[in-house]
Amino acid sequence: MAIFTTLDDLAQEIKDGTLIVLPPDYSNVPIAAVFALIRRRVKGLHLLFAPIGGIAGDLLIGAGCVKTLEAAAITMGEAGLAPRFSEAVQTNSIKIKDSTCPAIHTALQASEKGVPFMPLRGLIGSDVLNNRPDWQVITDPFDENHGPIVLLPAIQPDIALIHTRLADREGNVWIGKRRELVTMAHAAKTTFVTVEEIQEENLLEDERTATGTLPDMYIGAIARAKKGCWPLGLAGHYVPDGKAITEYVEAAKTQAGFEEWLEAHSVPQ
């Protein structure tokens, strides 16, 4: 039931306060849509990364769009620490829900399955758990030794926001082997997608492409965005622009530098 729209109209449909889930840096990050969200001055987002964020999170935090952030980490990789993220946490200007990679995968899987929680090993004795009053420790009812186990509540994002190479006219979306995008889309109420291309042939009709296709049942809106991951890469299509990312990290060390960089790059396309 996907609606085909423009990038800025898609961003308009993402309301203030929405719980958005974004993919990790190595995979299909919709930076063009992030710029569109910043242009429309979205406020109070609850931003979840599945499970690690990078420049997408730093941009939205720097632009004042984020109220709450949940991630296992925010990193600019080789380029260093994420400057707007670090400052926002250090100044307590966003609420941070520190997590760990498998806990986020698990909470999304719980939503995907429509169950209220899922258990996960580990965690016990960590300050990650100690700072998550929403997580519960119970006695494992299947353990003869009555050991503890953590239960993680399901997280149902309002919107999963992703970029991919290709969609078809029916609204089916190619995701290839990036199956964390499948979990995100299944877990979320709906999925908004930016794409490089839209093709006429139905992706589900050829088993080779069907295998890596997210069916339109999960998709709410599709908009074209050429090089929609820039300055990040899109696997098999274009590589990350390391120079631009390094320049960003340098510029964004101050809020003024961040805003200058943003003005130069967040232009309507």
């Binding site: 620490l81 250090q90 520190d98 960590s126 050991g147 503890p148 199956r179």
Partner: protein, 246 residues
């Protein structure tokens, strides 16, 4: 043959992998990744040869079921060896990847705990790798426990810390005693230097050997066979570290 620090550390870690069956390597881990590739090359063709699964990049990445597969496999017990680091590490092998100061509005914030709060519990042999050996890193008590080094009885914990590799030395962790023991000091460094730069207490045996440096054969293997493989995932690292191989 002369070798640089990264080459030395790669070979030191590779030696620790000799009894490993299946090594998993996470994101942004060029030194552990190189060590695992080297150890695999050295056991190639053996029935119990080392198996390696690397995330980050497509090379040596066997995963086709999304971001959770590495963690699911770890939960299934398919890996026996993994690597973690730390902004801070303390004498109980607690690791901190989140930041320094009081949580949450810390003095200095780092990326976050990644998968450590899980992997440290479930992978049998976790090797801690942190080149910088200073009292800033090796503290009496970490400011935030991303993952604890040990757990109370009753907590499901097949995994945990095995060793710590730094620019100065190799330590082995004793899980029962919950303490590190100095195993060897790298050439050119001393026990005193390790003591001076470590903020936590650890055990020192009567005689501390020098860490064995790489054999010429191993170094050549690393420079000729392994560097092109690691370059598929970490081209900048290879360009910087293995320039001597040109």
């Amino acid at each position: 043959m002369n070798c640089n620090q990264e080459e030395f550390l790669i070979c030191t870690i590779a030696t620790l992998l000799e009894s490993s069956q299946h090594v998993a390597v996470g994101m942004a881990s060029p030194v552990p990744g190189s060590a695992a590739l080297l150890a695999r090359e050295e056991t190639k063709g053996r029935i119990d040869g080392l198996r390696l699964s690397m995330i980050g990049g497509d090379a040596n990445n066997p995963f086709t079921d999304g971001g959770r597969e590495l963690f699911d496999c770890s939960g299934q017990g398919r890996f026996d060896t993994f690597f973690l680091g730390g902004v801070q590490i303390d004498g109980q092998a607690n690791i901190n990847l989140v930041g320094t100061g009081e949580y949450p509005a810390m003095e200095r914030r780092f990326p976050g705990s990644f998968g450590s709060a899980y992997m440290y519990f479930v992978v049998p042999k976790v090797i801690l790798f942190r080149p910088e050996h200073t009292r800033r890193v090796f503290v009496p008590e970490v400011d935030f426990i991303s993952a604890p080094g040990t757990s109370e009885e009753g907590v499901y914990r097949p995994g945990g810390p095995h060793a710590l590799v730094t620019e100065l030395c190799l330590m082995i962790f004793d899980r029962k005693r919950k303490r590190f023991q100095l195993a060897s000091v790298h050439p050119g460094h001393s026990v005193e230097e390790v003591l001076d730069n470590t903020g936590f207490e650890f055990d020192i045996p009567e005689t501390v050997p020098e860490t064995l440096g790489p054999t010429d054969h191993r170094l050549e293997l690393l420079r000729t066979q392994i560097s092109p493989k690691i370059a598929k995932t970490y081209p900048e690292f290879v360009a910087r570290v293995f320039e001597t191989a040109d």
